[in-house]
């Protein structure tokens, strides 16, 4: 199971370092595989005994067939690959945009009185807004092209990146900052050489949350004049009660998101092995 990167389990019941006879009881990967198996099994049973109408809970078999057809023939005029490609482009466009905007904004809020004064009310205003409510305004401003979809997704990603960045900044050790300044760091250098690296674990958590939020908003974003995209596909299928496609779409989203999460964790492992050593 790809989730197990073995990097983030706190050794409450393991030793700090276990040089010898590292007898791992049961590998996490196995447990995860079992969990997934049990869920699939329950699903199979539920649909076999028709606990829920098959219109709303198709059997795993049906979903696999639907997935196969999606890959081969596609749905609503695009193959699965095209839908996934369109959505991934949007998600990553939005991710890049919100990183470029969010990290500096979070740093500004966390470090400077003026930055906070200006940005805080704006961020706090934007943060809770429901995309379904501001969709018309987004269209008025950026039209119905890709930009609007990316904007909607980015707006859902921004808050967690900004908040985690500024929370990370606030938790930076004062001693580390003092040390840097007495070693000759200017304000900008304190920011880039101390505050930013210190906040990296928190920022990465923010990015992971943001990615999840981005997927969550995908369907809303693709309500806007999309002709392909996983969200659009799910939306179209849901309207006609083509539940096997809806579930296939959900599974595809989950698999992609899990894969991205795996990469995020790998990056985390590379960048912040020191997180628990400060």
């Amino acid at each position: 199971m790809i989730l197990s990167t073995e990097l983030d389990v706190l050794p409450i019941d393991a030793k700090d370092t276990e040089p010898a006879r590292a007898t791992r009881p049961i590998p996490t990967a196995l447990i995860s595989t079992l969990t997934v198996g049990v869920i699939l099994g329950l699903w199979g049973l539920a649909s076999a005994y028709a606990l829920v109408s098959p219109v709303f809970l198709p059997s795993p078999r049906q979903v696999v067939i639907a997935l196969y057809n999606l890959v081969v023939k596609g749905f609503v005029d695009a193959t699965l690959a095209e839908h996934v490609g369109a959505s991934l482009t949007r998600i990553f466009g939005a991710l890049i945009a919100s990183i470029i905007i969010g990290i500096p904004a979070g740093l500004a809020i966390g470090t400077s009185r003026v930055g906070r004064g200006i940005l805080d009310p704006i961020v706090e205003f934007l943060r809770p807004l429901p995309p379904l409510a501001y969709l018309p305004l987004v269209i008025i401003w950026v039209g119905i092209g890709e930009a609007s979809k990316i904007t909607v997704i980015a707006l859902s990603m921004l808050p967690s990146i900004i908040l985690s960045t500024s929370a990370g900044v606030r938790a930076v050790s004062k001693e580390h900052i003092n040390a840097a300044r007495s070693l000759g760091a200017g304000k900008r250098q304190v920011l880039t050489e101390v505050v930013l690296p210190s906040a990296v674990p928190s920022i990465l958590t923010g990015i992971r949350i943001a990615l999840g939020a981005g997927w969550t908003t995908l369907v809303a974003a693709e309500l806007v004049a999309a002709t392909s995209g996983i969200g659009f596909m799910i939306q179209s299928a849901a309207q006609f009660l083509v539940t096997d496609i809806v579930i296939s779409g959900i599974i595809v989203i989950a698999l992609i998101a899990i894969f991205l999460e795996y990469i995020a964790r790998l990056i985390e492992r590379r960048l912040v092995p020191w997180a628990s050593h400060r």
Binding site: S53, L137, G143, I144, L223, A238, L241
Partner: protein, 308 residues
């Protein structure tokens, strides 16, 4: 023992909002009614399937989809035939042939969507040659305002907004003539209908009476009338727009319901046609050979005999 009736309605401007506001349904059916608002037919159908709803309001497209999936539902009342309420408004387009290569928006899966495709077929315009975009009504208004759209098949009040700077190429009344009628209807879960036939009959009766009241004197339901106030209050529509919105539908009376044009035959055909069309579009996996089980005249017939 008191019966609990769960009704899923949509914020459509139509006569039965008035008895809903007045509590007439409660009085006549003798049931405790939970009114639940929905914004789309798909959710209504999901709610009926889950057993959370007994009676629901849907458009003809979702109705066709639900019937094709063989859900245990039954059409009990055709609320209104969509006529002027939905139309294709365009900008810079004079004739249907000009539509090729243009951006036309419509809320997918809606009755408007179906009407647009039917109209294109009627005009022999290949739908693939038109850029059909999925947008919800408020977003259509915004995109139109911005100049991103060449046209949209949509309903009021967004439609009237578009008419201000565009012209109407076809209305749903036209499309109905071309063989693609669209309508809204009340449906009931078969299980509930079996258990509480009298409640369903009473429901249909009240609905029919509301329609009759409107049909008797449409002009009395003007912008300042209590009826308009009640409709506006329940739907969120602006009160002074209510009369115009009401005019966009043809509301059949209880007596007309059972006729050959409606539940007695026309509705079955319309559902079958819609399903065939959706199948052709690849939206649903299969169509049925017979849609009669999903349409019933029993309730309107019983209701005409009911008095209160």
């Amino acid at each position: 023992e008191e019966v609990t009736l769960n009704i899923g309605y949509q914020p459509i401007v139509e006569p039965s909002r008035v008895p809903q506001a007045d509590g007439t349904y409660e009085k006549v059916t003798g049931a405790k009614i939970n009114w639940q608002k929905f914004d789309g037919g798909a959710d209504v159908i999901a709610a009926i399937a889950s057993g959370s709803l007994d009676i629901g309001y849907v458009g003809s497209s979702p109705l066709a989809a639900a019937s094709s999936r063989e859900l245990p539902i039954e059409t009990i009342f055709v609320v209104g035939l969509i006529s002027e309420a939905e139309a294709l408004a365009v900008k810079g387009i004079e004739k249907p042939e000009d539509l090729a290569g243009k951006k036309i928006a419509t809320p997918f899966v809606s009755t408007a969507h179906y009407s647009l495709l039917t109209a294109l077929k009627h005009w022999n315009v290949d739908p693939k040659s038109v850029e059909i975009l999925n947008l919800r009504p408020p977003e259509i208004a915004a995109a139109w305002e911005r100049g991103d759209l060449d046209g949209a098949y949509v309903w009021d009040p967004v439609l009237s907004e578009l008419k201000k700077s565009g012209k109407v190429l076809a209305t749903s009344a036209d499309v109905a003539e071309w063989g693609g009628p669209t309508f809204d209807a009340w449906i009931v879960s078969k299980k509930f209908a079996e258990e509480h036939p009298d409640v369903v009959t009473a429901f249909v009766k009240v609905t029919g009476d509301a329609t009759a009241a409107y049909r008797a004197n449409p002009d009395a339901w003007n912008a300042t009338s209590p009826e308009a106030e009640k409709i506006a209050r329940l739907t969120g529509a602006k009160q002074d727009e209510v009369p115009a919105l009401l005019k966009g539908y043809i509301f059949p009376t209880l007596e007309e319901q059972a006729g050959e044009a409606l539940l007695g035959g026309g509705t079955v055909k319309a559902v079958a046609d819609t399903s065939a069309f959706l199948l052709e579009q690849g939206k649903i996996p299969a169509a049925l050979s017979d849609y009669k089980p999903y349409v019933s005249t029993r309730w309107v017939t019983d209701a005409t005999k009911l008095a209160y």
